[in-house]
Symmetry: C2
Subunit: 427 residues, 2 copies
Amino acid sequence: MAQAGDYRILHEADLRDYLAGIPDLKALLGGEPAAWSITEVGDGNLNLVFIVKGARGGVAVKQALPYVRLVGESWPLPLSRAHYEYLALSKQAQLAPGLVPALLHHNETLALTVMELLEPHIIMRRGLVAAAHYPRFVDDITTFMARTLFFTSDLALTAAEKKEAIAAFAGNHALCKITEDLIFTDPYRIAEQNRWTAPYLDGLAAALRDDMELHVAISRLKLKFMASPEALLHGDLHTGSIMVTVSETRVIDPEFAFYGPMGFDVGAVLANLLMAYFASAGHESVPGERRAFEAWVLETVEQVWGGFTGKFLDLWRSQASGDAYPASLFAGERGAMRLEAERQAYMQRLFTDTVGFAAAKTIRRIFGLAHNIDFELIEDPKRRAVSEARAVRLARGLMVEAAAFRTIADVTGAARKLRDWMPELSG
Amino acid sequence: MAQAGDYRILHEADLRDYLAGIPDLKALLGGEPAAWSITEVGDGNLNLVFIVKGARGGVAVKQALPYVRLVGESWPLPLSRAHYEYLALSKQAQLAPGLVPALLHHNETLALTVMELLEPHIIMRRGLVAAAHYPRFVDDITTFMARTLFFTSDLALTAAEKKEAIAAFAGNHALCKITEDLIFTDPYRIAEQNRWTAPYLDGLAAALRDDMELHVAISRLKLKFMASPEALLHGDLHTGSIMVTVSETRVIDPEFAFYGPMGFDVGAVLANLLMAYFASAGHESVPGERRAFEAWVLETVEQVWGGFTGKFLDLWRSQASGDAYPASLFAGERGAMRLEAERQAYMQRLFTDTVGFAAAKTIRRIFGLAHNIDFELIEDPKRRAVSEARAVRLARGLMVEAAAFRTIADVTGAARKLRDWMPELSG
């Protein structure tokens, strides 16, 4: 029987032997194991990631480390997250086939998963920095979100199934805690790990720490994150967790998966698009050269919400099999009409949540521990600060006045107005 | 090792032998086991309950049956509920000492629990039918609710502790399902187990089945019941689950315990007081003879909400140790003031939930499977129907316009206005 103590970090040679010992993987890679190329490419914060290529094919191997890689051994993190990632990936593959990498092998003891190698996909965030358009993205990400969220919600599951599913992910609380601290708490207080584009955003950072309306809003969102298990979330659905080509989209890395509020996933996608939009001006070498890209991004924001809503509602209308909103209470034409109105009201409440979570995901990338290359690759810190301050201004409004944004066009309209707004910077 | 198959129903002789085999219980009862009196008193729907008295003392013994007693073997129900009841009772004893019966022995295999015998306590509902006043009730029940709900919420627990606690009760879903069906669904549709005071309430029953605003409202409450694990609920906190004397209050029977919305417990208490109020006119032999009792009941309704709120807020102010609303975000005088305003807003949201759940608990007692003696003991069915129709009129308003009731005085005021309202009856 495998024991927890059997965990060991697989370095290149160990990994080669390990993979060679699994007939299916050996055959898939092809040729002599000694000739396989093995490259560590983990640019993430938590894990080792290897790309292994043989004479015939390639695989990606992900192994969890017992600590936060970004910080070091002083910040331990349970290996069990690999198990939850595997559970989530299996569920997503079932619900959204073709939109996640194929799962080839999992070893719980080693906290190791072998997946399809995605080639020539790149991390979407890199493409957005380069002003690339992704014509499949809207359809794919809305399908992914609508199906994974709907089919794990009370609209599709019985209450008993739902409770068991919540319990199955309850143990992933160490990963939730990272989110609770780094997204919902630290950016709003003095915390060692916070950083921002100093000195230009010093004043804004201080203002956020002093903004009690914002603190109430982020605390309500935090409580919702902790105590509203509406559906199985990806839990970290930013553009760095999405791999794309012009014709394909794959969602990766669901190790933060747990049962939480749907708006957290949807808001993550919208926030990261909006950050790409605000960062875009900072990447111009000629003023206005990225306007077409920027227009595409805002259009994409609108279509993501619209597409998600449309697909989620279609599933609700055609495949509701859960214990919520029982069909027997909405019989007949009047019942059908009233239920349809309630579906719209449900989506409106979800929109309000989504807007709030999008704001939270934005602010953490500018004042918290984990930043993103959308902003970070703007070399001139002053230009970067300008882009960041615009994003923060939108985010502050979204969070504190979430209910004032009734439609996604209200959000993109507000973003558009801030495109050329010049903030007052410190320093 | 005990197996599930080792379960057997303990009849009187078996129970005597079983208790005699446990030295502590044998000593507590005292005298010769053969001389112990054993009486089955279970008037509930689900279990066997024995009162056992010996030469020295007495105990109450509760054993779960593998089916719903009220309906018979055709409706199976898992014995595991005895385990969840034991878990909940242990937690309540820790959080609200002296307000639940002392736990003397538990046998998970037999689904059997031995508790302190409560004497001369009676079921509070019986006392209310007899127009008794209970001067300790407000202080005790508000302490029980404030402490059990606060200390199992995100205000007192870390997110990790909370998730583990939710998971520990997730398996009690069969009991939750009873509530989901009998409270949140069946009374609003044609269901075999529904009954009401026919023919007088036939029209009202049909109106409820046709009332789509009400169906939306009850469905939202059902979703909240299923997917808002705010705190460890008793889950069945009506006046039949409370035993009283003029100087003592004990909450019993938490077998429906699970993590759910706090308003469900608070609403249960308020609803059952309000039903006692509306039933009161039906128990008069001389018009007006129970006016003092009725005034006490409405005063009690106000004091239960007020007392609960006050105690819950005091705990929040003095003993918040959970991950919600982190103190570091509300430092200084401005932070303290803003947090205090948010506490009030939190209680206002909880009040709205409470009012809705109180309405749901009322309607199920008049149109669903399980009725209560407050109304049932009104012998004249027409008088009973009048009392019931008044309660339903209030409940319909509370559920559909929950947000219009801003204070508990709005609720008692509305109840008072309906005291002599004459409904149109069918038949």
